[in-house]
Assembly symmetry: C2
Homo-oligomer: 409 residues x 2
């Protein structure tokens, strides 16, 4: 499979400096699962005492790896943990063979690290429907283990890329009770090349000390306004996985309602989520959809996602067209409550439509100027209540069609 040398115009200028998270060590290696000449397997080993939380795709056809992680995430263990991830093959829709591959990898990681297999989490991303050549991975576990380092998170971010055009990382530092706390995370997604599927994989590490239930509650809460508030093309992977590991090495104890830690974690999650959108296939614009005034937050989210997933809205953004009619259409079709005569729509700070008709002060050139930028904001006030939601997406361009349709697998 050819690697794309193209880098998204929306990519950050550079990969960020990530802080060391004590108790979390990383390594990556070229195992030749599918790609040649690049690292394609990463291993993370977490010290004893680490708690692990996770959220996963809700797809009914989720991969063997996801099913295995979900089973394990519910169990507490204080022996430490390991995460092993390969790119190049998603081990999805591979029948019972997929489960055997997961078991084989977990057993080898357990053997080499001395952890119980129940504390080994796996992810796979890449081509689907092909048996995972897991022996190429198990053959490299000892080498990975020998190379573990607290400084190697950047290499791990590179190893999990498939058709991503840039590696994704984010971090935060804060002080809690006089102690330094670090959070560092990496992600991959959402590029894809037939017959691959987009997969979003995210791994976040902190040296805070957080109980497993509290860590899981925080992660579940914060997934809604971050990773579950982005969409590239409305299609959901069978492999989406987000793991959050707290090593406790900072000795800063954090509970579920610690506002400073929650804010810092949410910032890291949102930063990674935005980077995934910025690497959306063919993306040339980063779009924030802000819905206010809905009957409730759930309705606001329904409207926001209807706008963000509408091919007509997304192509209008690509065409730099302040096409408020398509926004009205998307609100109308969403199924959530709306009243034509109460709707207001702005592009950036330009009020385009209010009270069910184009605003009397509207000058199209003003909205058109906003649409020429790389960062587009679509604001919709439903005019019915206090519900609000913000989601992020990208435009729909010829690049998307080219990546997904212009050749056969």
């Amino acid at each position: 499979m050819a690697r794309i040398e193209y880098v998204s115009p929306l990519a950050p200028e550079r990969f960020p400096e990530l802080p060391v998270v004590a108790g979390a060590r990383f390594a990556s290696v070229a195992a030749g699962v599918k790609y040649t000449g690049r690292a394609d397997v990463m291993l993370a080993v977490l010290d004893p005492g680490t708690t692990v939380a996770g959220v996963f795709t809700r797809s009914a056809t989720r991969s063997a790896n996801v099913l295995d992680c979900q089973k394990k995430i519910a169990c507490h263990g204080d022996e430490g943990a390991a995460i092993i991830v390969n790119s190049g093959n998603s081990n999805a829709f591979t029948g019972r063979a997929g489960e055997q591959s997961v078991a084989a990898i977990c057993e080898e990681v357990a053997r080499v690290t001395g952890l119980p297999a129940e504390r080994v989490f796996t992810s796979s991303t890449g081509v689907i429907g092909e048996r995972l050549p897991h022996d190429r991975i198990t053959a490299k576990v000892s080498e990975l283990h020998d190379g573990l380092s607290e400084q190697a998170l950047r290499g791990a971010a590179d190893a999990i890329m498939t058709t991503d055009t840039f590696a994704k990382g984010a971090s935060a530092k804060l002080r809690i009770d006089g102690k330094d706390v670090n959070i560092a995370g990496i992600a991959k997604g959402s590029g894809m090349i037939a017959p691959d599927m987009a997969t979003m994989l995210v791994y976040i590490f902190t040296d805070a000390k957080v109980s497993r239930p509290d860590l899981q509650a925080m992660l579940s809460d914060l997934t809604g306004p971050t990773f579950n508030s982005i969409t590239v093309d409305s299609d959901t992977s069978t492999s989406d996985t987000l793991l959050l590991c707290a090593t406790g090495k900072s000795d800063a104890e954090v509970s579920v309602d610690d506002a400073a830690f929650r804010d810092a974690l949410q910032r890291v999650m949102l930063d990674l989520a935005h980077q995934v959108v910025r690497d959306g296939e063919g993306a040339t614009k980063f779009v924030e959809v802000q819905v206010t005034g809905a009957a409730n937050d759930s309705d606001a989210r329904t409207h926001a996602m209807a706008i963000a997933n509408s091919p007509l809205v997304k192509t209008a953004v690509a065409g730099e067209d302040p096409n408020w009619g398509r926004v009205v259409m998307a609100v109308g079709k969403s199924g959530a409550a709306a009243d034509r005569d109460a709707l207001s729509i702005s592009f950036g700070d330009v009020l385009v439509a209010k009270d069910g008709w184009v605003s009397p002060d509207y000058v199209e050139a003003d909205a058109a100027a906003h649409m020429k930028g790389e960062e587009i904001v679509i604001k919709v006030d439903i005019g019915l209540g206090g519900g609000q939601s913000t989601v992020w997406t990208c435009d729909l361009t010829h690049g998307y069609i080219s990546i997904n349709a212009d050749y056969r697998s």
Copy 2:
């Protein structure tokens, strides 16, 4: 607005011969609502005794015309009826002015035809957010009325086109109780040019004698497996309107459970619905998605629509790629029940995947050959129960992006 001279490669060879429906007369005229040099308003006048049934968009931001039709369709009147439709301006999102335009048009048609205004139905399709210059329409009502003819349905089909690349018509003839019964219908959709919205308008006429409740029940029943089983891009118009008129002139009495009439009506509706898909923006492939074996029919429809609306499935079809992985993904994300290990997938008659993995007999060249055709069939057996559903869509191509994104309004 430039008219596209391009005709969809999926268009029928020619407009069909439509039978005369006694009691239904038609006329069309160039009123210059927006377009010049072409007919853009059509009038249908139905004789006394005609029953009218309708189904409409469920959009929360539906147009003034739709709201007016919905109010009137519930009332019985035996004075006859009229339908007046303009292209070039959708009268959608035009605030209270939109309602005034509808009232003005209905009053003039009532005055000229002698019908009560409550028996005049209107539709508008075209640019949104601009005040409808309804005086251009009312100025032509007398001329339209003078030109009414039972032979003029084809002209009406032309007049309601916006960015359609071909006019759409379909018909059926049958005998009931020794009497000839005719059904003839026209439709427009689903091309669109910014800032227009796709609108599907459908008008079907029969000389059968059907009570209003029976006509409405039949129409509502048959809309599910026909017009509500097609999708081009998952976006729903604010103006979708389907009216069915039964003049009763054939003296053949038809009740709600008359199988022969229902079958004939369903054929006409399905034919028109398929023509709308065949004129989908940028379409190069006509796609039938057949889902069987779901837990129930509702789940089957959810799966089928998830497949038909998936940008990744639609781009795979455009790329002639038998990408069953994307079909698995769409089934998984749909939210309806599925089990990876019970799934079977075929492209045409080629079994691609079964029991959760690629079929052992699968030869990719066979599936690839099917994907090269213009008529693609994707069959998915969920393997859980007896639920089934068939829906139709088209592929997602550079043409769609070009039509919707390559220029500003």
